[in-house]
Amino acid sequence: MLKIKNLKVEVDDKVIIDGLDLEIPKNEIHVLMGPNGAGKSSICRTILKDPRYRITRGEITFNKEDIKDYTTNEVAKMGIFLLMQNPVDIPGVTNAEMLRTALVERGVKESIFEFNKRLTESCANLGIDKDFIHRNINEYMSGGERKKNELLQINVLKPSFIILDELDSGLDVDGLKSLSNGLLAYKEKMKASFLIITHHTNILEYLHPDKVYILNGGKIVATGNEKLAYSVEKIGYKGAFSISE
């Protein structure tokens, strides 16, 4: 599904990722952990082709297609979804308006009635108030509501590869559990893959990873299974780095 090979990325001529290799097959959950400034969020932005993140070496392929010349919206249309740490608010623009536009851009042809029906059903399935769809994007929403909103978008746009950037940020225990269950149900249904970016293991109680990577200085310094994540929680990142050395 997603393959990253010998990746080097620069922002404003500063190297932030150097020599990164990753391979995430279909229907798997992979986790990228690392201390602040390790380059975790930079990887999200690079995959989503944020123009500030310049790929100077290596390649990223999605379903065997090199995304080098693709733009952010094209990568999203291929099926990659980024659930951001702090989704921004857009005053004056409703969720329904944004989702309908995103579907039209994907070539989906459905009447406004079909669209509304589908959106209402998605809200009901996710236990989200249907008024949500007519609220402005993330405006006056709590951290938990913003993440729920993203879950709704996932269920409507149906991506096959989902990046969760610090999902637990701004979420309480119940919120994290509820959201994780929603994502797990989506994975079961769509056989989607996940790349989870996190500092902590909280989320791994619900979304059990197939593989865990530890990132430092823009490259992977340790790889393992779920146990690696829990060891890091115990011994800290410095301890994990010394083991990998």
């Binding site: 989503l48 919206n73 994907r106 402005n136």
Partner: protein, 223 residues
């Protein structure tokens, strides 16, 4: 224009949709009133007096080549007013809003959102006066312009407060489209020009009441 040149009109209240030329008038607001002035395409010169205890909301939207709008609002005691003005300017847009609170317990707010579409000249002057010896008055002035050209925009938010017991605020920005908001929509699979258009229109609609959004969106369809 002198006061004697203005047509005196008494407004007893309600929701009024202006869809025709309305200029050079002196409005006396005697009941709670909402005025929606959508895309009138004409210069506006209005003097408005809000009588004791009454409220006035004006929602103005214009997508225009060149306009000159001047409002003078006088608020008597216990009265409220909110002026919302959104516009897209193609060549020249001049907006002068003078507000005078001369009674106690007034609330006034001016919200302006403008887009400088292509090398337009925008000039916004807000003169908010709170008269001496008044008490418990609130006056806010906000103006934000999205600049899509290299031209300069002038926004002057004046607050002239002649009393101590008052809450007065002003906020002004001139900037370009927020790259984070743009990236957010791009990451949902929306192309750059469409995403920019959505954000810009949301910016204009954000100060307008929901019930007139459709009307404004219909005007912007061909943009």
């Amino acid at each position: 224009m002198n006061d004697k040149d203005l047509n005196r009109i008494v407004v007893s209240g309600g929701i009024i949709d202006w869809d025709k030329y309305m200029n050079a008038a002196h409005l006396i607001i005697k009941g709670d009133t909402v005025i929606n002035a959508i895309n009138l395409h004409n210069d506006l010169n209005l003097k408005i007096k809000i009588e004791k205890g009454k409220s006035l909301v004006i929602n103005m939207f214009d997508y225009a080549v060149s306009l000159d709008v001047a409002l003078v609002i006088e608020a008597d005691e216990n009265s409220n007013f909110v002026i919302n003005s959104s516009f897209i300017s193609d060549v020249k847009y001049t907006l002068n809003i003078d507000t005078i609170a001369y009674g106690d317990n007034t609330f006034g707010e001016v919200n302006i959102r403008g887009i400088n579409e292509r090398n337009s000249v925008i000039r916004i002057v807000m003169n908010g006066t709170v008269a001496g010896k008044t008490k418990n008055c609130v006056l806010n002035e906000y103006a934000h312009v999205l600049n899509k050209s290299n031209n300069s925009n002038v926004i002057i938010p004046n607050l002239i407060v002649n009393t101590n017991e008052v809450e007065a605020n002003h906020g002004v920005t001139v900037g370009q489209i927020d790259e984070e908001k743009l990236f957010y929509l791009l990451s949902k699979g929306i192309s750059r020009p469409v995403a920019a258009k959505i954000i810009e229109e949301g910016f204009l609609l954000s100060i307008m009441p929901d019930d007139i959004h459709e009307k404004i969106k219909n005007i912007l369809v061909g943009r």
